[in-house]
Symmetry: C2
Subunit: 176 residues, 2 copies
């Protein structure tokens, strides 16, 4: 089964300069658990999910209206092709620590999003279990937007609050 | 298969008067996605998960250190018995909008917790898909702790912030 045949077309998008508050409001109002993120040029630049909000917002310890989606989203946008097989997409999600990603066609046109739940109908029980377990034990790596080599890691203060994310490539050290 | 045979024993607990900040810190440090909640008497009174944090904390729009776990947890504690069959537990989770619950033995001793991921190994593909889809479309009902009849519903201000949770039983109207 090709993933393009089972892609979800009822996704919603949010601007990267919207806040985490706006994002969760939109998710709650629409019964969604993730949103695609666009930049000012209507390019898709990332994806925001419950997991990324828990990992990259809550420990900043500030109100949700004070943190921008672009500081929390998973970027670059995790993506697969519409003619990829569901098994390969499941492996990609499992290995990347993701529950969802974007699906594009060969002309780079967005088809929609796909989640582990969508894939579960088309995999064996063993595969579903492996994907469910694996995507929870792997951490999504936030690639540094400057050096494109390092990974952005949280820096904590004495209270355990996240003060900033810093590139772990010592020759880069980009912070945001 | 009885759920007692596959229960997770590596759960962690947190006091109901700890903060959402403390809870997410503990979850991150231990690679967990939910915690059992205890009261001062070491009784289990609820469960906190990524979903309950998204639904009941983020739209309050205050820092995570200012909201107590007891205001966010799912209570009364969702629970099943160790000799319940995995299929029945899966239906319970699906119908309750839950991804996890506590498992007790006949002497009311806690055995551990069980999640949809744990159950997925022991169900058919069709069942797994149904559970994954269903638990996301149902909303967990927070029973009113005063009248025990109504459901606690969020009340929003003009900005869309949650100001309080109010019992929807008109003859009660309890707020917290």
């Amino acid at each position: 089964m090709k993933v393009g045949n089972i892609v979800q077309k009822n996704f919603k998008t949010i601007d990267q300069n919207a806040t985490v508050f706006d994002a969760v409001k939109m998710m709650n109002e629409n019964g969604l658990y993730g949103l695609l993120v666009t930049n000012g040029d209507n390019h898709y630049v990332g994806i925001i999910s419950e997991r990324s909000i828990i990992n990259r917002f809550v420990l900043r310890n500030v109100p949700a209206s004070e943190v921008l989606v672009k500081s929390v989203m998973r970027t670059p946008l995790p993506r697969v092709m519409g003619d990829d097989d569901v098994k390969d997409v499941a492996s990609f999600l499992a290995n990347s620590g993701l529950s969802r990603c974007a699906v594009f066609d060969r002309n780079d046109k967005l088809l929609g999003i796909i989640t582990i739940t969508d894939l579960s109908r088309h995999l064996s029980v063993q595969s579903v279990s492996e994907v469910l377990l694996s995507h929870r034990s792997r951490k999504f790596k936030f690639r540094c937007p400057v050096c494109m080599v390092g990974t952005m890691e949280p820096v904590y203060n004495a209270k355990g609050e996240i003060t900033v994310f810093k590139c772990n490539n010592e020759s880069c050290g980009h912070m945001e």
